[in-house]
Symmetry: C2
Subunit: 362 residues, 2 copies
């Protein structure tokens, strides 16, 4: 289990990590099906190269559960179902468990009438939106997935962290191949988890383009100062507006906690009270079956013929870097930063779980 | 009608401009109701300070109509209605006429089942999305409005203008007052029409923050070079992904022309073939009547308490600058740049319409 002292990361197969994560969750009272769902969704993010939303979230989940701030056995309940609208109470369950229930309802309602809007409150962090967008896309729908998040981002023209990183994911069905389009973005310049990941890798500096502010509201490239500061909304006032759009469509509609009504992450015993929204649209209500999927594939090709800008070999569309990462990481394993692995190892020791060794040959 | 030679702009009351615009449209064969709708929507944008989407669009519309590239008498037809989904053929009518028909269907369908998705193809420029979002919001719905647009924007990592400026508008019901939230944004760093407006004002330079590239793909602050170049997607890869999201939800779903299948604007006789999408969501399906509206108002207040960043007096939310501009311009009139007024005056002379004089006292 200890890593060789000279390596910053060690490689693990996805299945190894998922089993370990599920065991850790089980050891704090999470039912096996819930533990497996959370573990699979986190490791799927690592596979896609989105380490910000991978197993590094697990330490936070475990801390919340052990502090009594999250009920890992809860799966929530339907508050109301009305036309194609469903309102869900997450009952402070794991975000992934709530999102899994909600997206199952999304699919059922959209099959019946072409579209559905499912809104959940009293939930928790649901991992990467991509996992839920993909579930809707695999069922044949355009999946639009949003979540509010704990206050961390200063609104445009301001310095107080009030908005969440409020992610937006849009996934589309059936566009196979390496150039498959999928949007999954925080409404910040970069996802907050990228900073956490840089911290785990002991990187003293971060790129200026990440747009972090220090505690005084000044731009910074120092990891430590950024950790004491805040991320900025992407594109200034536009990102600020997009974050509020997500807040309105999630917490505004759900009746749940909004912005500073949520606690900051990692405080332990306070329920986070996060809200999510899932919109499913059936393209076959507009076009003959299969035509939408073919059109999106064609659109991707039309964009990729753009002449690359200086410094780039090709034009990539949203999602493409992630599919490529997945191909590599399925083959070569998932690199886990030493400091993160040590943190999870210490938790495992406390919980009397045996942490796996890095997979051989990596 | 001629402006005093020393003024860069002259002021007009909204009603004066709207009547003039409607007369110009009527003179090229536009039915009176269609002309009034277009005129009102354009002048409403000017009132809100969004000159990029105001009467400066009229010259393009007139040119298109006179070249036979747009049928001002058409109002389109329903292709199919299926569950809460409606597919519309704009029949190459004025975008505003098509959008007016579509949003009327949006309201009818969302009243019945809580949500509607209306998708139109074979349309034209529909003005500012805000006008249509507002129509849905006034009817009590969250209105999400998108349109694709003619190719003008290089995708992230590329230099070829392939994507449209693909705007996104989200409007919410009932949040009165000056701080009313409304998102209406191009997915570019700034709207392309801002550059056109700077040109009309003979401004030799534009801010670097507008993010325009010259014809070689290098950043530029020279108005003329930017006019020969292209705008950039907001926030780099995120704006590029948002533009593709809009393209997919509009043209992907509508079966209409996608990106470079559309002609560039102002070419005259070619139908533009633009697609729009309108999503309406009834908040009263989730919360008791009026609660959503009160919550959004409260959210706006929670964001506005942020400490202003250096250089700002207060934090503004999306929509707020536009409501303030409207208050001022209703009182003081709409400033019209000299070169734009001369252009419209020349068109009026050709069409034997008398252009109004600037309103007295301004």
């Amino acid at each position: 289990m200890p890593l060789p002292p000279d390596s910053a990361t060690a490689s693990f197969r996805a299945e190894t990590l998922a089993r370990f994560c599920a065991e850790l969750l089980g050891a704090v009272g999470t039912p096996a099906a819930h533990a497996r769902l959370v573990a699979d969704s986190l490791v799927a993010a690592n596979l896609r190269g989105v380490d910000s939303h991978g197993i590094q979230m697990l330490a936070m989940y475990l801390q919340q559960i052990r502090a009594g701030g999250l009920n890992p056995a809860a799966s929530g309940r339907v508050i109301s179902e009305n036309g194609v609208c469903l309102h869900y109470d997450g009952a402070n369950g794991l975000g992934q468990v709530v999102a899994d229930q909600c997206t199952t309802h999304s699919v059922r309602l959209a099959r019946a009438l072409g579209v559905s809007v499912v809104v959940a409150r009293h939930s928790n962090h649901f991992g990467a939106g991509a996992w839920w967008g993909e579930k809707l896309a695999r069922a044949g729908f355009i999946g639009i997935v949003m979540s509010n998040a704990c206050p961390a981002v200063a609104p445009w023209q301001g310095t107080t962290p009030i908005l969440g990183t409020n992610p937006l994911c849009v996934a589309v069905p059936g566009c196979g191949g390496e150039a498959r389009w999928m949007l999954d973005m925080a409404t910040t310049t970069v996802a907050l988890g990228k900073l956490t990941h840089a911290g785990h890798l002991n990187q003293p500096t971060i790129p200026r383009a990440w747009g972090f502010l220090d505690a005084q509201g000044q731009p910074t490239t120092e990891t430590a100062k950024a950790q004491a500061g805040a991320p900025t909304p992407t594109g200034g006032y536009k990102g600020s507006a997009l974050a509020m759009m997500v807040e309105i469509l999630c917490a505004g509609l759900s009746g749940g906690a909004m912005t500073t009504e949520l606690p900051v992450y990692r405080t332990g015993g306070d329920p986070l009270g996060i809200s999510h929204t899932f919109i499913a649209i059936d393209p076959a209500r507009f076009l003959p079956a299969g035509e939408f999927e073919a059109r999106v594939n064609r659109l991707v090709g039309m964009v990729k013929v753009a002449k690359p800008a200086p410094g780039f070999d090709e034009v990539l569309v949203a999602g493409e870097p992630e599919w490529r990462a997945e191909k590599v990481r399925r083959r070569e394993g998932i690199p886990v930063p030493r400091s993160l692995w040590e943190k999870l190892g210490a938790l495992a020791a406390e919980l009397k779980i045996e942490a796996p060794a890095p997979d051989a040959g990596r």
